[in-house]
């Protein structure tokens, strides 16, 4: 019944491919478009080979996956909490990841261990919030939200403490991590696999999520096993966010705004909204990361700064126009 939205979705997919192409071509050194062709056919110059295959393509793919993960997680969190202001970090996930990652940096550990610590911290915070909110037997979206917000504030205080007490030479790296940064992104294979797997898993859940957005009781009256579905969304959203945080630190804004943007364009139907959010979130982050690489090249900006700078005006414009 929503098939008439398919052309829009295909358009978004084409846009995503274009953005990925741009991300590969643009940088401190701009490449001609035929460079990609010659590299892909194995006839590229060694410089182009390194630049495209070893440096830019992995980074662009990592950026796309991260954006997709965050936007999908945001869309899920908004349904789970029945709150349009929810984002992937609302349950304290990024805070837990940040504290663990900063501790790893302070201990002088390498990139791998910082990423692993971030993943562990995100999962720890997830279990903490979930246990506190559901452990007492009573559960409600408000309770979960409140628990998450308070736990997040706790992590925020710990982050400030770590920043205030650390050495000056360690600060830039820590700040970059906190603002979201893709320059140390690991291989994009796992993020892509997880994103695709979760999207496939969510396809049959789309209509259930639509019903759940009408409230837990109404959904139960229409035959939804609310607890089971909520648990599953929570787990999936936490996994998506944890992986995104592991790849790129805490990039704000994408998870909150992209689902809203997509709702303005595609309507509320989760069956369209979730894949659209993944595509748009990925595209936004690739665009932002490309800009982060070229604005003050050869220096790089943290990508989180650019996502907000790009996203805020676009979002406000759409919001303004939709209210007329």
């Amino acid at each position: 019944m929503q098939l008439y939205r398919l052309p829009h979705l295909l358009g978004l997919m084409a846009f995503a491919l274009l953005v990925i192409l741009l991300g590969v071509l643009l940088g401190s050194v701009n490449l001609p478009i035929n460079a990609i062709y010659s590299v892909l056919t194995g006839q590229g110059s060694p410089l182009h080979n390194t630049l495209i295959l070893d440096l830019r393509l992995p980074r662009v793919l990592a950026a796309f996956a991260t954006g997709g993960l965050l936007a999908t997680a945001g869309a899920l969190m908004q349904v789970l909490l029945r709150n349009p202001l929810a984002d992937p970090y609302v349950l304290g996930l990024s805070g837990g990841a940040a504290v663990a990652a900063l501790l790893a940096m302070l201990a002088g550990l390498g990139v791998f261990w910082v990423s692993s610590a971030a993943f562990g911290g995100a999962l720890f915070s997830t279990f903490l919030v979930f246990g506190l909110a559901y452990g007492s037997g009573q559960s409600s979206a408000t309770r979960l939200l409140l628990t998450g917000v308070v736990v997040a504030s706790g992590w925020g205080a710990l982050i400030s403490f770590l920043l205030a007490t650390s050495q000056a030479h360690q600060l830039p790296g820590m700040l970059y991590w906190l603002m979201g940064d893709l320059s140390h992104a690991p291989s994009p294979v796992i993020p892509w696999l997880v994103l695709l797997a979760v999207l496939v898993l969510l396809i049959p859940l789309g209509r259930t999520l639509n019903v759940l957005a009408r409230g837990a009781l109404q959904a139960a009256a229409l035959g939804v096993s609310v607890k089971k579905v909520e648990l599953m969304i929570f787990g999936l959203a936490a996994l998506l966010t944890a992986i995104a945080v592991t790849v790129a630190g805490s990039i704000g804004f994408v998870g909150l705004i992209v689902p809203h943007l997509m709702r303005m364009v595609f309507g509320y139907d989760q069956r369209i909204l979730l894949p659209a959010s993944a595509l748009a979130g990925g595209s936004l982050l690739v665009l932002a990361d490309t800009l982060a690489r070229i604005v003050i090249a050869p220096q790089q900006l943290p990508v989180g700064v650019i996502t907000a700078m790009l996203g805020v005006p676009v979002f406000l414009l759409l919001l303004y126009r939709s209210n007329r």
């Binding site: 029945r82 139960a220 229409l222 939804v224 096993s225």
Partner: protein
């Protein structure tokens, strides 16, 4: 259709609650009357299996309600709540279509037949013209009618309604209750929490009275709608009058 066996609702801080051994047959429409906070909503939620009772059990078509899967249960009984949530926008038609959710497997999308059912329900609730409007722009009465349209699209055998005439103007009160009456005539059953004694007298075949102290009694309309019982129920003096063979109830007041 539905039976309760020694059913005691779970209402906190209310130790003394009558056990209900209640029979709801096909073709009956029950009005649940009681003052604010007597447990009318809790009763409906308990019957729907959405709230566990303190003790006893609810049987739906001779099988414990807890033995059904959620979609099976939602095919047999439907519920209209006092309030609807609309934090997220959706069109009126898409919302009505959600009534088909219990019938569709997870990979299926709504068929043409589902769409026609939803559109028919919207037409019955006089909402056809609002089909493509966002539910966030609806008035209170329109929302209530949409909730009823979802129930009609869901098309269960047992209709549980929490104050179905909430927010409705006089014309739509009659229209809604007449449609519910037709549904019951066609072999379904309805249980509705109501506050209007005169509507209950006109549209219900049976009445259940829920007293604030936890007592309950139930039976045919004529045996239940008696002045002393009703005055005790609401702790309110009532006056009655007869018009065209019908008893009408009015609350007494020293003013006017």
């Amino acid at each position: 259709m539905m039976q309760t066996e020694n059913l005691v609702m779970h209402i906190p801080n209310r130790p003394k609650l009558d056990a209900l051994n209640w029979q709801i047959e096909a073709g009956q429409s029950w009005g649940v009357l009681g003052p604010n906070g007597a447990g009318k909503t809790t009763l409906l939620l308990t019957l729907a299996g959405l709230k566990a009772p303190r003790s006893g059990r609810v049987l739906l078509a001779n099988q414990a309600i807890t033995g059904y899967t959620m979609p099976q249960r939602a095919q047999k009984l439907g519920l209209v709540f006092q309030q609807q949530q609309d934090d997220f926008p959706a069109t009126v038609l898409a919302t009505a279509l959600m009534g088909r959710h219990p019938y569709l497997r997870s990979w299926q999308t709504e068929s043409q037949a589902d769409l026609e059912l939803a559109q028919h329900a919207l037409a019955q609730m006089e909402l056809t013209e609002l089909e493509s409007r966002s539910i966030q722009t609806l008035s209170g009465g329109e929302r209530q009618r949409l909730a009823l349209a979802v129930l009609l699209t869901q098309n269960p055998d047992l209709l549980l309604l929490d104050e179905p005439t909430n927010h409705l103007d006089l014309h739509h009160q009659m229209a809604v209750l007449e449609i519910l009456h037709q549904q019951v005539q066609a072999g379904k059953s309805a249980v509705m929490a109501l506050h209007d004694l005169n509507l209950a007298a006109r549209f219900c075949s049976h009445i259940l009275l829920l007293y604030p102290d936890g007592q309950a009694c139930w039976g045919e309309k004529n045996t239940m709608l008696q002045l002393p019982a009703l005055e005790k129920l609401y702790r309110q003096r009532l006056i009655t009058t007869q018009i065209a063979g019908q008893t009408l109830f009015f609350p007494y007041s020293s003013i006017g």
